[in-house]
Symmetry: C2
């Protein structure tokens, strides 16, 4: 069975071929009128221009880190780092290409063929990203595992940690930069266009409207994709690392009755299991993705849900079968099951907090003004952490109960194994959003808008659920990486480390770690403010200086707005990005690996809670505003609506910039610690 | 030297006598006009009525917990619990009596004698609270220590943990209830009076204005006093507990070269040291308090600052001398010094974030509306956690470096030993605030108002610093209680416990613990909303139904508003209060004492960060509004001012209800765990 792992890169390549075929089928779709093509081209060009400049900036960072790793840890790890960074960028690039091709074709399908084909087009656009993420992960991990022969030499498993670190580094900048881009464009477009000039959303006269559409792609497609890619490879690599360094006691949990003679076989089985599970997950995801074509005439929400359930069920069946084949107990299967269930439940909880009674509470609170809207939104966000945390700890508890420390890692893998389809559903959202924007800008008929609005509104729900899922998976992945880190320290130090919170070094680490997400959130919120300010100035300037812009006779300079958002996002992403990279290195070398363990625990807990609070409050504010716009409490333009707009604006950086950045922050700090663990053990000042 | 501890109760009684004399001197001051007396009586009666009803409600809680402790832990601990609760209530009662007597006399002193005597009057009013807190702590701990002879029988030291639990229980409800009262009255008075009816702040026509003044007393005097009382006794008791169960290795740190023969002497010295330090602190505080009379003609801010510094210097000198007398190394002295310095520095950092560049940044952000005001305020609050956390961890690090685990406890004691004077400065704030309100309502001349405004504005600064200090001391106290808890578990279990964050039980505890402050903050914010809503309805009704109210011919029904705030506060404090009490009990009995250790660590870290964020953001929003009102950016009534009012309203529950509640939450959960530790060891299901 284990030898099947050698097929991983090939299966990954096959997945990429399917993604390419889907991309080709998307491209074959009709583009519609010349005006639609022009808008779509502007979005595509803007997104690609942003991506190229972002990658250029990151190249400097990658080269520096590559050199440091080469010199400090070893050439193999440095190469793995490079591969991880490259795969993450490639996934982002292909996802973005497909998304910016699918948006206009979705509009056209809605206009000429109806809801079913439009849903399929939008979903297929997202599926390219979903399958690219899953396949590139398989190719990367599978190929590196072969090259460094980790199955025979478990000691080499540490090398592929570099792959996760590469993926994480790109993810941080992609999430933060993308988040700043999308919100500065959004705020600029809304504040000057809607509020000051009184023109509708997505009005073609608004110079920032293209930048806003580009933002949906760079934030919600490329940023989200990099985030999920990181969780995906991080969880698999952490689980392999845990298995590679597992004690006999842990191996006995995984395969009762293990002896010195069977040890290496059991270890090999445990190491291969996560990779085999995601191989099965990719196949299951393909089935799920293709099933949407058959389900397209159902209710769209149901179609997307079923495709996810089909994939999850198939993956789970395969995981059960695999435990038997690998000679493992059913424990790891139950851990996979609990991780997968926790992911789904956290998504449903998110759906409640951003769509149920809480949004009506926020709406009601808007009757007494924007202050009470804000207070209620914050209270909802804070309350909303409880239930997801409960299910995260249940997943941890069950994972551990069934398979020890390995169980926490494999539960994360279970949550992420069907990423091919969950990520497709995620990426569907911004495509549908863009499709709606294009139909507005191109002035298409009401029938078309009704379809694209319906698909867009579904996209908002899937996006909110996707955010909850991203946080839940980040939490488990960070914990898995944390476990791998402590195993790595133990391996390097030659004895177990105890991260005891009754010792001062750990308490100090805990406090420092818990403060970092606050500082990161503050930096990213200010960054959005700065970038939005530049955008507002530019949009105001264009309305002032371009003759006939309001009358529709002058043309806005869209490109200039895209440029401003790009430059601002790239400038503002540096500081929060470097903070996350440097903090664990400083603490590790100065306070020591044990205090660093405390720091990682503090950052993970604090980061997960802030992320949940910010994402849910932001989503709830957004939908409370939409609920009022549906005609409740006086509808659009009423005083409660004005109050709700304030909440929505506060929620924007919460849910799309600062909140999601937390996911990466905690994973990146863990994976950097994992890779550098041997250096900390050897060279730290060990103040504690 | 150790035998001096037997003087503690007598010294405490002496302190109470001084407090009584100061109270008598306050009462001797002139009340002014009949109208002033009437207003003052209304405030006094309202505050006392609230306190009586609150204590009646708490009586039920106290009786139940007393019975449970009696049955579960033992009669002695139950008695100590009762004493702690009684002392806390007595401190609150005497502080409130003095504060509501001093407010009107401060107004009259400003009117007839000028700034110096007005400052002395307001400060003396606060000093009754400050000295009552310090003295009652000494009386309680000193007397219980004698009664249970803990100096001879170190095993009995655990009994006085009950005293800290009693103080904590009262503190939680006092802080939460007081916070809800004060903010509901404030929001009700502002929203209907200032915004809807357009009458000035503190206008006597406003039916909620007396309730608002009462709120300053129940929130900022009684609530703050109970909070600080809890930290004060908690830090001393935790340090005694650590010393009572200290290992030989720890004793060797405190007195190098300790042998089996000298062990009990060293232990006795280490146990007496905290009590002797606060005895010295009380004497030093008396000197500090009396020095204000001499310094009263200086700049008021400088006078208050010098009085604090004088007390701190005297206490420190005594602590240094005491280490020598007790045969301890100078280590504990350095720990006292670092705790004391950290407290002062955290206060200064708070002053910067609620008065420096950050408030101008928030003001500037108000130019683009309330949304950017809110985003910037939240970003400031999040950033503001970093520096205080840095100094908290430095205090932990130094405390540990100089005196091991004992050092963390004694650093907290150092921070709190001069509570007699720091609490006096704290309680001065609401008295000066009330004095300003009374001079406005009684229509006194501009000269008087200028003095009371000046004293009030200083009170805002001291209040902000006091909040920072309260959080810092809560953090160290909670950590000291946490250390005491782990020692207690070790003593009960017969072997050391390791709260290792690489084990799943601790990780689960960490997540649950970190989520509790979020839930608590959500509950208290909603509670303020509910209570404020009831108040708004009532104020609107009075303006609608009482003839001639706006014209000044009708009289508002102040009493009814006080009543509504009272009932709402008492109703709404139950749920957040019980959550804090029940959570550690459930986790302890179900998941086990080790997971509970993780929970306490998670709650402490998360609670401290949320408290800092909320208190500083709230203070910064408040002062940003005041900065605009000083004439910046268009001044009062401008668009930026309107935006800043929204921020101030959001900040109100942040800084006066939810933020401060966190302090108590973390201390109360720790002290409950400490008292029940033996039960958890014996009866827990120990799921982890």
């Amino acid at each position: 069975m284990e030898q099947w792992t050698s097929l991983a890169p090939y299966l990954g390549v096959a997945g990429l071929v399917v993604a390419a075929l889907i991309y080709a089928s998307v491209k074959k779709g009709e583009v519609g009128t010349a005006q639609m093509a022009e808008i779509a081209d502007a979005i595509h060009d803007g997104a690609m221009a942003y991506l190229k400049r972002q990658y250029t900036v990151l190249l400097i960072f990658i080269v520096i880190v590559f050199a440091l790793l080469y010199w400090g840890v070893g050439g193999d790890t440095a190469l793995a780092f490079l591969a991880g960074a490259a795969c993450s960028m490639l996934a982002g690039f292909s996802g973005m290409s497909a998304a910016t091709a699918a948006n206009v074709r979705t509009t056209q399908a809605a206009s000429s063929k109806g809801q079913g084909p439009a849903l399929t087009m939008a979903f297929n656009g997202g599926a390219v990203m979903g399958l690219a993420v899953a396949s590139l992960g398989l190719v990367g991990i599978g190929a590196l595992a072969q090259i460094f022969d980790i199955w025979e030499k478990a000691g080499n498993a540490a090398i592929i940690n570099g792959f996760a670190m590469g993926a994480s580094s790109i993810a941080l900048f992609a999430r933060v930069g993308g988040g700043i881009f999308t919100k500065s464009a959004d705020v600029g477009a809304d504040l000057v266009g809607k509020v000051e000039q009184g023109i509708p959303e997505d009005d073609p006269r608004n110079p920032a409207v293209i930048a806003d559409n580009v933002g949906d792609n760079v934030g919600d497609v490329a940023g989200m994709g990099a985030d999920i890619f990181e969780s995906y490879v991080g969880s698999v690599i952490a689980t392999i690392a845990i298995a590679a360094t597992a004690s006999m006691a842990l191996l006995d949990t995984l395969s009762p009755g293990v002896t010195a003679a069977t040890e290496s076989a059991v270890r090999l089985g445990a190491m291969s299991f996560p990779l085999l599970v995601i191989m099965a997950g990719l196949v299951a995801s393909l089935v799920g993705v293709l099933s949407v074509r058959i389900l397209q005439n159902m209710d769209p929400a149901a179609a997307l849900r079923y495709s996810t359930f089909i994939a999850a069920a198939l993956m789970m069946a395969a995981a059960y079968w695999l435990t038997g084949q690998l000679g493992l107990s059913t424990g790891p299967f139950w851990a996979v099951l609990s991780g997968s269930m926790a992911g789904i439940i956290i998504g449903l909880i998110t759906e409640y907090y951003t769509g149920g009674q809480p949004i009506r509470d926020i709406g009601e609170a808007s009757k007494t003004g924007s202050a009470t809207n804000i207070i209620t939104g914050l209270a909802v966000g804070m309350e909303s952490v409880a239930a997801p945390v409960l299910f995260i700890v249940i997943a941890i508890g069950l994972g551990f109960h069934f398979a020890g420390l390995y169980g926490i890692g494999i539960a994360a893998v279970g949550m992420l194994a069907t990423v091919g389809v969950t990520m497709s559903v995620d990426a569907y959202g911004p495509i549908a959003d863009n499709a709606g924007g294009i139909s507005e800008q191109a002035g298409l008929g009401e029938d078309t808008r009704k379809i694209t609005d319906g698909l867009d509104s579904l996209g908002n729900t899937t996006a909110a659920m996707g955010k909850g899922f991203a946080i839940g998976s980040a939490a488990l992945t960070a914990l898995a990486l944390f476990s791998a880190y402590t195993s790595a320290v133990r391996a390097a130090a030659g004895s177990a480390i105890v991260v005891d919170v009754t010792t001062p070094g750990v308490v100090i680490g805990l406090f420092i770690g818990a403060a970092i997400p606050y500082v990161g959130a503050s930096l990213t919120m200010k960054a959005v403010g700065n970038a939005a300010f530049a955008m507002i100035e530019e949009v105001r300037r264009q309305f002032r200086e371009i003759p006939g812009l309001m009358e529709g006779t002058g043309k806005p300079d869209n490109r200039r707005c895209v440029d401003i958002a790009t430059v601002a996002a790239l400038r503002e992403m540096i500081l929060p990005g470097l903070t996350a990279v440097i903090a664990p290195v400083l603490v590790g070398f100065i306070l020591g690996p044990v205090a660093l363990g405390g720091m990682l625990a503090g950052a993970t807990v604090s980061g997960v809670l802030l992320a949940l609070m910010m994402a849910n409050a932001g989503g709830a504010w957004d939908n409370a505003k939409k609920w009022i716009e549906e005609g409740n409490l006086g509808g659009k333009g009423s005083d409660p609506h004005k109050a709700a707009v304030v909440g929505d604006t506060v929620g924007d950086p919460f849910k799309d910039t600062s909140g999601p950045s937390m996911n990466i922050l905690i994973k990146l700090m863990s994976v950097i610690s994992l890779v550098l663990a041997p250096l900390f053990v050897q060279y730290s000042l060990n103040l504690f």
